[in-house]
């Protein structure tokens, strides 16, 4: 997994684990913004993201950092910590919507018209996508964030979301369908649907 906007800080992590406050500050400066943006994408509100970011780094400060295996990528590990934390928050709040908890195996997905899909993607801006993401259910949004923001592998996503590896593709595909519906709904409204 690669992490956008981050550099590996293995040395700083080692010093931070030894109790070096300056190293802790370096880790926070380098990774705090990216973790905040991750939380911002994964959680419903900006306040939630701020709180979650502080809680994640508080966890690290209070001892979670000792669980990090130095043979692996620190940024990848930190993203997994963040993903688990955000997912725990969402789970605690029980805000997973029905469509996420229902037996999605039984709901077939409609095959898209390629040309129509291509046009939809062509027309949409990043901002519209961000607005549409905010309308998605927790699992769908989390899956998309883990995959397309954190660039996690399917194995890592399966681990973070607690689903089988073979199911990750389905989760992502359904999330994309939800996203398209949200995008289309928005464009229909903008086209004059005021009722």
């Amino acid at each position: 997994m690669s992490v956008p906007g981050m550099t590996e800080t293995t040395e700083a992590v080692a010093r931070a684990r030894a109790g070096d406050a300056e190293a802790w500050g370096q880790i926070y400066r380098e990774m705090g913004p990216a973790i905040f943006r991750f939380c911002r994408r994964a959680l419903p509100t900006r306040e939630d993201a701020e709180d979650a970011t502080m809680e994640i780094f508080s966890k690290l400060w209070e001892g979670k950092l000792s669980q990090y295996d130095e043979t692996r990528s620190f940024s990848a590990w930190l993203y997994r910590v963040a993903a688990n934390h955000c997912w725990d928050i969402l789970r605690r709040r029980k805000i997973r919507q029905d469509k996420e908890t229902e037996d999605i195996d039984n709901v077939p997905l409609e095959h898209p018209d390629p040309n129509q899909l291509d046009r939809l993607i062509e027309q949409k801006t990043s901002e519209e996508v961000r607005h549409a993401l905010d309308k998605l259910g927790a699992r769908a949004r989390m899956a998309l964030v883990l995959r397309y923001y954190s660039d996690m592998s399917y194995d890592e996503i399966a681990d973070a979301l607690g689903v089988r590896r073979a199911f990750v593709g389905v989760v992502l595909l359904r999330a994309r369908h939800e996203l398209r519906q949200a995008l289309e709904g928005k464009s229909a409204l903008a086209a004059g649907g005021t009722s």
Binding site: E47, M54, D105, P112, Y148, Y154, G169, L173, R176
Partner: protein, 575 residues
């Protein structure tokens, strides 16, 4: 599971090909297919324009998603920037200061206000234990008030609601939170009154005829009431005037312009009225806040009379002590206990009989007519007219109260940092908050008064007045923060805002304190501060309740964004 169908069906008999399903295309685009299946998809896509289009659309969708999530559409919050520094700080000393100041404030409140009142009430014969036990545990007082929404209940509700809002604020969207509060309020108001032995009457006039008996408490709201009959329980009255000529076996709790008691009350009278005239009998104590109290020559109070008002006249018989703070005290009847009075003047007529000592603190010595039977001479204390500015403790208390206000502001700003910033920002506009402040300052109490004439409206109006008072209490803090901002510039974080609030508040206090004692000007400046601060709070609340407008979509090409180095673009799963 919606497992993808065979993605690579062979050519059918008719020469047409079956298209790839979307799941297979996605897995291919995400490099999740094994080599053999990926090559087959690649080969199929070369001959099938539709599947090629789908693959391209999925790939573009992936890129659009990544780009949308990577773009920094909002800045990093300042509190996160401070977090690292704050995490290293110890807050122990801050909480030490907070607790110390809080303890000082409580002590100041107790010694300044509660303890003297407690002593006087004890001297007046209200149980002789403590104010707390008097208020909470003594049956007579508590019995009368427990059916009502007391100040304690309101404060407790506001506190619980505040904590509830803090806990749930992140879980609720703004609209739903507001709807929830409204729904809760409506539900609370719509709930039936708790089952109990209370009879309610609402209307312009109420009359209980001489031969009628109410076998429970009686709760009346209306313009006028007359009780000629018997009430087995307590009487509660909110209205213009009430005449009790019958028999009340419990207490009378009255908020009215005029109260006349010509009958018999076996319990106590607790009242806030304009005129209280007793020509009948009250078996126990009378506690009243009003303009004129008159215990008529034919009237009798079995216990004590505690009055805070302009004129207190005792012509009848008082079984125990008289405690009064007001302007004028006239004694021409009999008092079995002692007298403690503070006011401008005291007159004791020749017909007066006082069995206990008389303490009077006022401007002039009491006038005692010859023939008055007093147990001892009046102990007079000249009211000190020394300027408070010459007294050292005045400045000490000003500093303590200023520190207490700053502490209060600090706690508020830490509890509600965003809202505090919004309030201060609203306050900086000056014109709008002052305009709105005038409306809120005068309008809310009037609305509360209108609401209080209905039984259902009483809790609502008490709650409204409570919120109004809280806003009034916070107004000077808000103005202080605005002034601090003007002096030091915009803060970058909550602690910066708190610092500015503290500085501005101290400056406002320093400027306002001498002005407060200048006739008219002081009152106007104080009023201006209240209106300005309240208006800022109201404006911030108003802004919060406005629906948020969607951000306008920026037209034009998508700005270039560098993709992460390992972003998948489709193809064969890497080894």
């Amino acid at each position: 599971m919606n497992e993808p169908a065979n993605p690579l069906a062979p050519e059918e008999a008719g020469g047409t090909t079956e298209h790839l399903d979307e799941m297979t295309c996605l897995l291919y685009a995400e490099r999740q297919l094994d080599r053999a299946r990926a090559q087959a998809v690649s080969a199929h896509a070369q001959d099938c324009a539709e599947c090629r289009t789908l693959l391209r659309a999925l790939d573009r969708e992936s890129r659009l998603l990544t780009r949308a999530m990577l773009e920094e559409d909002e800045p990093l919050p300042s509190r996160l920037a401070e977090f690292q520094e704050r995490a290293r700080k110890s807050f122990g000393w801050i909480w030490g200061v907070v607790l110390g100041l809080a303890a000082t404030g409580v002590y100041a409140l107790y010694t300044g206000y509660v303890e003297p009142l407690q002593q006087r009430l004890e001297q007046a014969g209200f149980g002789g234990t403590s104010l707390l036990s008097l208020l909470v545990f003594q049956g007579a007082f508590w019995k009368g008030w427990q059916s009502m929404m007391t100040l304690f209940e309101v404060l407790a509700m506001v506190t619980v609601a505040g904590f509830g809002a803090l806990i749930f604020r992140r879980r609720l969207r703004r609209g739903s939170a507001f709807a929830l509060v409204l729904a809760g309020l409506c539900a609370a108001l719509a709930l039936p009154a708790p089952a109990g032995a209370t009879e309610f009457h609402k209307g312009d006039t109420y009359e209980l005829a001489k031969d009628q008996t109410v076998h429970s408490d009686l709760f009346i709201t209306g313009a006028r009431a007359r009780i000629d009959g018997t009430v087995d329980g307590d009487v509660f009255f909110f209205g213009q005037s009430i005449d009790i000529s019958g028999h009340v076996k419990g207490d009378a709790i009255v908020f009215a312009q005029s109260v006349r008691v010509s009958g018999q009350i076996d319990g106590n009278i607790r009242s806030a009225t304009n005129n209280l005239n007793i020509t009948g009998t009250v078996a126990r104590n009378v506690l009243t806040f009003n303009e004129t109290v008159n215990l008529d020559a034919a009237g009798k109070i079995g216990g004590s009379l505690t009055a805070m008002g302009q004129t207190v006249s005792v012509d009848g018989h008082l079984g125990r002590d008289l405690l009064d703070m007001g302007d004028e005290t006239i004694i021409s009847g009999t008092i079995e206990g002692e007298v403690r009075s503070k006011g401008r003047s005291m007159s004791i007529a020749s017909t007066a009989q006082v069995a206990g000592p008389i303490h009077f603190e006022g401007e002039h010595e009491a006038t005692v007519d010859s023939g008055a039977k007093l147990a001892s001479p009046v102990q007079f204390t000249q009211e000190k007219r020394q300027s408070q500015y010459e007294q050292g403790h005045y400045y000490v208390w000003r500093i303590i109260w200023t520190a207490a206000f700053v502490l209060f502001g600090l706690v508020l700003f830490l509890l509600l940092p965003k809202f505090a910033a919004e309030v201060v920002s609203a306050g900086e506009r000056v014109g709008a908050p002052i305009g709105l402040g005038v409306l809120v300052f005068f309008g809310v109490p009037i609305a509360a008064l209108i609401a209080i004439v209905t039984v259902v409206g009483i809790p609502l109006s008490v709650l409204t007045v409570g919120v109004w008072l809280l806003a009034l209490f916070c107004a000077e803090i808000v103005v202080g923060a605005v002034v601090g901002n003007w002096i030091l510039g915009k803060p970058t974080d909550t602690w910066g805002l708190i610092g500015r609030m503290a500085l501005g508040f101290v400056i406002v206090r320093i400027v306002y304190t001498p002005l407060a004692h200048v006739h008219v000007i002081g009152a106007l400046v104080g009023l201006g501060i209240w209106i300005w601060g309240m208006g800022a709070i109201a404006l911030a609340l108003y802004n919060r309740l406005q629906p948020t407008m969607p951000q306008s979509v920026m037209p034009g090409p998508v700005p270039p964004v560098s993709l992460p180095p390992h972003t998948t673009v489709g193809g064969i799963q890497p080894a």
